[in-house]
């Protein structure tokens, strides 16, 4: 019964966006010059980061599914079909994600725009490119969840791994703090990791922080990460399948 959960998530989303609104407002007021962007842009970034986090929550289903299968042992059935599972999960999860966008993302966006000074993208071009960047962002999120789920397949179901993933994601994606705030060392780490493809890059495009050239190369980077991670998913899955057949189930 997703009903209570659904409404609670909407409420929670609003609270979190509201919190972000205040957080960045307060911080901006203190030292506006540190930010290289306008207040409106910063607040929008902060709130959208939270919103996107909530919407992308739907891709966690992939991880939960894999972990559940491992726990109940039903993973054996999945392992007998090497390629089908990946596409099957992707198809199903895409549906869940679309649902999430429509029921959480859009209302949240509208609520933010109406009550919390959420600004539209700085230009139509940016807006369109932003929407475009959501696709690889989702694929990266999907693939990462799949890989984390696969860790459970290999090493037993450990809940903590999910939390570790979530913490790293929240930080290195730029959700908690914009990436350009990071000191050099952390910034370097963040740029090497795929997490920023999920939130950092799309939002940078949205608020117009990147030039056209930078945007296009960022999109390219996203696409590369998405492809690489999906390939990694396929490889780990085939490996697991091979392992199973060698061991004789």
């Amino acid at each position: 019964m997703y009903r209570q959960e659904f409404w609670l998530r909407i409420l929670n989303n609003l609270v979190v966006m509201y919190g972000a609104y205040w957080l960045w407002n307060t911080l901006y007021d203190r030292q506006p010059q540190i930010f290289t962007i306008s207040r409106g842009q910063m607040i929008s970034y902060g709130m959208l980061a939270m919103l996107m986090g909530t919407v992308f929550y739907a891709s966690n289903q992939v991880r939960y599914y894999l972990m559940d299968q491992v726990r109940t042992g039903a993973i054996q059935m999945d392992l007998l079909r090497p390629l089908d599972l990946l596409f099957h999960l992707l198809a199903r999860n895409s549906g869940q994600m679309i649902f999430s966008v429509l029921t959480l993302g859009l209302p949240g966006f509208l609520a933010g725009a109406m009550f919390l000074e959420l600004r539209p993208p700085s230009s139509l071009q940016d807006g369109l490119l932003f929407l475009l960047s959501l696709a690889p962002a989702y694929l990266v999120s999907f693939a990462l969840n799949f890989l984390v789920g696969m860790i459970a397949v290999y090493t037993m179901n450990i809940q903590r791994i999910g939390w570790i993933y979530y913490s790293m994601l929240a930080f290195f994606s730029g959700q908690l703090v914009p990436l350009w705030f990071f000191p050099p060392f952390l910034a370097q780490m963040a740029y090497l990791l795929p997490f920023r493809c999920i939130i950092g890059i799309p939002l940078s495009i949205y608020i117009g922080k990147l030039t056209l050239g930078e945007t296009l190369s960022a999109l390219g980077l996203q696409a590369l990460w998405a492809a690489a991670l999906l390939a990694a998913c396929q490889i780990t899955w085939s490996r697991a399948h091979a392992r199973l057949t060698v061991q004789g189930g």
Binding site: M1, Y2, R3, Q4, E5, L8, R9, N12, V15, V16, Y18, G19, Y21, W22, L23, T26, L27, R30, Q31, I34, T54, T155, M156, I158, R160, I161, W163, I164, S167, M168, A170, F171, F172, L176, V177, F181, F182, P183, L186
Partner: protein
């Protein structure tokens, strides 16, 4: 303590609880891997949180009048309270799993309060690593702030930490009990916790607007986990100020939450035996 949770509670019950927990500990076959992952997890998760704080504070030298070490103290208080909760009560959020797997039915066939059995079903040893980390944060911040607490303040801190664990227990139990109706509880609790994490655990409430403050004080009262006690301990609020009394409310909040949670639990249990499948 609320009635339905404590039915039949006495010294004997406590003994049984410890025995159940003993069984749970004995059952930990994956101890070494769990421990390793736990340690790594503590380092990464807390590292990331502190890094976020560090990044912000690196740019802004204080947040709403709170300096770096004061924020670390705030975080430390949250950490210790939360890890005490996660040590003993974390598995309550998996109530849905226990119901689906039939474990809960097993509780009902035994001559013991099912809540007690649920409590004794599991223990999260990783919580110990978290407690240590939290205490380290507290220790460091106390040293760096050159604080000295008198006996009353130490007692207050201990009480506040215990209350924090109980408040989280109350919140979790409240939402977990919905599993009796809906068959799902884990995701719900994660959602609720999102407000907890990333927001109130490390940012003082002064930074947020009134609406948010009201929400985390009156609705999902996570502000009582760390913010109000910290405010009092650090001397940021004096007897004359409005809201001073909030510093002493954690026990009351814990009691109210546990009562509410036990009502939901009892109702849920009745519901389960009426319509459980």
């Amino acid at each position: 303590m609320p009635d339905s949770l404590c039915r039949g509670a006495d010294m004997d019950t406590l003994r049984i609880y410890f025995k159940l927990v003993g069984m749970a500990l004995k059952s930990m076959t994956q101890f070494r891997i769990d421990f390793l992952v736990g340690v790594v997890g503590v380092i990464i998760q807390n590292g990331v949180n502190l890094a976020a704080i560090g990044v912000i504070l690196g740019r802004f030298h204080d947040l709403a009048g709170w300096t770096v070490w004061e924020i670390v103290f705030l975080y430390g208080i949250w950490m210790v309270g939360n890890s005490l909760y996660s040590l003993l009560f974390l598995h309550l959020s998996s109530l849905d799993r226990y119901i689906i797997e039939g474990t809960f039915d097993r509780f009902l066939v035994r001559p013991l309060n099912p809540f007690l059995q649920l409590l004794g079903e599991d223990v999260n040893l990783n919580g110990i690593a978290d407690v240590i980390f939290g205490l380290a944060c507290l220790g460091l911040s106390i040293t760096n702030l050159r604080l000295t607490f008198n006996l009353l303040q130490w007692a207050y801190m201990v009480a506040a930490l215990l209350c924090a664990a109980l408040i989280e227990l109350g919140i979790t139990l409240f939402f977990a009990s919905t599993a009796f109706w809906t068959g799902r509880s884990g995701a719900l609790i994660n959602t609720v916790n999102q407000v907890n994490w990333n927001m109130t655990q490390q940012y003082p409430l002064e930074m947020f607007g009134r609406g948010f403050r009201v929400f985390v004080t009156c609705f999902i009262p996570v502000a009582f986990l760390n913010y109000y006690p910290t405010r009092w301990l650090l001397g940021k609020i004096t007897p004359g100020d409005p809201g001073y009394f909030l510093s002493f409310l954690p026990p009351l909040v814990a009691l109210l939450l546990l009562s509410a949670a036990s009502l939901v639990w009892a109702k849920g249990l009745r519901q389960y035996t009426s319509t459980g499948s």
